[in-house]
Symmetry: C2
Subunit: 197 residues, 2 copies
DNA sequence: GTCTATATACAGATAGAC
DNA sequence: GTCTATCTGTATATAGAC
């Protein structure tokens, strides 16, 4: 059975691991760092999880489950521009709420996506292909500007995730003020202008 | 004196190190990987450079010297939209020609920019502030749409660097075809529409 | 469940032969 | 200049006391 203490400690460890893996990547992260961040000893940490890899794998599974949702939520029956703007807003909200998850993902891709190949080539690709086809239909019907649907999706990823992934840089340039301040109106305007037929 | 063999080996090492640091980050990279990639033994590698950190530092210095140039090349006397489109094109060209340098930079920022704090807070910030002021003037004169100049600069970074930094993901989604195929016309159109007064 | 102590592997770096 | 051998520190993981 699982006690309340066990649940709390597992959560603490995963939270600390997310912090460290997101900043250092899998190889760069150490159990010492994670244990210190979680406020536990290293052997105690390995009492809750079998290995460093087991912790990372669990974090990745949690991440991937949530990663597809915003794109999946685009409704074929909805208004084209409203649907795409809604997608952009959800992605921006994720950068605001889950910046560490975004950096964890970015780190994996930067490393050549060794642990994500299957997910991307299968699940993500299938969903992107489907949504790209939908966007192409909308464009053909004249309800949307005729833009390359793949680059449109990439541009939403790039522009929204940038605020989480390059947070350190933006903070140093805009000393003090919230990195996301003004981002939403800027992106609203950018995509409104891009998508107008 | 420096022989031809020394020059060639130093270049090989730096090239291999760029590859490995860009993919694994500083902590994640190992001298074994770099030595293998360079086709040299590990002690031989340390005959040419004092330490792992010395190699990384040299790579960073080379990178930073070239990192400011495109933004600096924006001409206050030029045509506003042409200058900004030119900046975007130069940045996209850098993602095409120097994707590893882009990933090296991304890795540093993801790690919280510990080795880049001074560069960003001083050199980069000063240049960005200057160019942001220029863009704000252009907007005030009605020669450019009234967009937030900082977010405009961030959007150019995000959209162009994404093709280098997330190359692995894009390749898996667009199996086979060049990740940058179609990127330039897409971005031209996006920024033309965004910047029209 | 949590600790100290430790086994084992691998990392960065050096010594010294050639 | 380049190698083999090795020193030293640190990493993951385990053993076993409490």
């Amino acid at each position: 059975m699982t006690t309340r203490i066990q649940k709390r400690n597992r959560k603490r460890i995963l939270d600390a691991a997310l912090e460290v893996f997101a900043a250092q990547g899998f190889r760069g992260a150490t159990l010492d760092q994670i244990a210190a961040e979680a406020g536990l000893s290293k052997p105690n940490l390995l009492y809750y999880f079998d290995s460093k890899e087991a912790i990372h794998r669990l974090l990745m599974e949690d991440l991937l489950a949530s990663w597809l949702e915003p794109l999946r939520a685009i409704e074929p029956a909805g208004d084209p521009r409203a649907e795409i703007m809604g997608y952009m807003r959800r992605k921006l909200q994720m950068s605001r709420e889950f910046p560490r998850e975004s950096r964890l993902f970015a780190n994996e891709i930067l490393q050549g996506a060794p642990r994500l190949e299957d997910f991307i080539a299968r699940d993500l690709k299938a969903l992107v292909d489907d949504r790209a086809a939908l966007i192409a239909r909308w464009s053909a019907e004249g309800r949307l500007a005729a833009v390359d649907p793949y680059h449109l999706i990439f541009s939403i990823w790039a522009l929204t995730q940038h605020y989480a992934d390059f947070d350190a840089q933006i903070r140093l340039i805009r000393e003090g003020s919230d990195p996301l301040e003004g981002a939403e109106p800027f992106l609203e305007r950018l995509f409104e202008r891009l998508l107008a037929p």
